[in-house]
């Protein structure tokens, strides 16, 4: 699944490690979500979106699912 996490993270000058720590996951998971290898669960997607002050749809691209 495509996401805007990398773009949002870069805009805020955040490292993957810092984002992972903020949302309670590991750096490897953030990397996998960013490159589209892993699809985050609903709670994690919510935490990430909430961290950036956006909705889940604004961070994650659901067009491929539809």
């Amino acid at each position: 699944m495509k996401t805007r996490i990398r773009e949002l993270r870069k805009a805020r000058k955040l490292s993957q490690e810092e984002l992972a720590e903020a949302v309670g996951t590991t750096r490897q998971t953030i990397t996998s979500i960013e490159v589209g290898k892993y699809t985050a669960s609903l709670p994690l997607a919510y935490k990430i979106a909430h961290y950036f002050g956006l909705t889940i749809e604004e961070v994650f691209d659901f067009s491929e699912i539809e």
Partner: protein
């Protein structure tokens, strides 16, 4: 996080108990009180060494676990990191897939082994059969349990 801290403390108690038990086994084995039930003397020595090595290896693993837990309990940042690592959903999914595949492959391997070993050793063949049986019953029981929970 308090709940997690409590679970780490309980884990530490269990680890310490495990370390003490394993240390006792090693001391008793070293003193010759505990000896493997093997008739052949040369084989008994080899086997005693193997068991002692395994006990020592497990003790080291327990000690490492204890050190990691103690460090996390003393340092909030390390605690958060350990919590994230242990509760990471991707890691959980990787473990699920890995174990699920390992279970299937081992079961298949054991089924083949039952037939092959049947021609050479009935004991080995029956042991494999017993393992497959126990594995299947345990798997079925857990499936029932999770069907009710999810």
């Amino acid at each position: 996080m308090e709940k997690y801290k409590k679970s780490l403390k309980l884990q530490n108690v269990l680890l310490i108990l495990g370390i003490l038990c394993l240390a006792a086994v090693q001391v008793l084995s070293f003193c010759g009180v505990l000896t493997p039930a093997v008739q052949d003397e040369h084989w008994a020595g080899f086997w005693a060494g193997l068991v002692a090595g395994a006990a020592f290896g497990i003790t080291i693993l327990f000690v490492i676990g204890l050190v990691i837990n103690l460090r996390a309990l003393r340092n909030e940042a390390a605690l958060k990191k350990l919590y994230a690592k242990e509760h990471d959903e991707r890691t959980a999914q990787i473990c699920y897939y890995a174990q699920s595949w390992a279970y299937r492959i081992c079961t298949l391997g054991l089924l083949v082994a039952i037939v092959i070993a049947g021609y050479f050793s009935p004991t080995v063949s029956l042991t494999c059969l017993a393992i497959v049986f126990i594995q299947s019953v345990t798997g079925a029981l857990f499936k029932l349990y999770w069907h009710k929970r999810l």
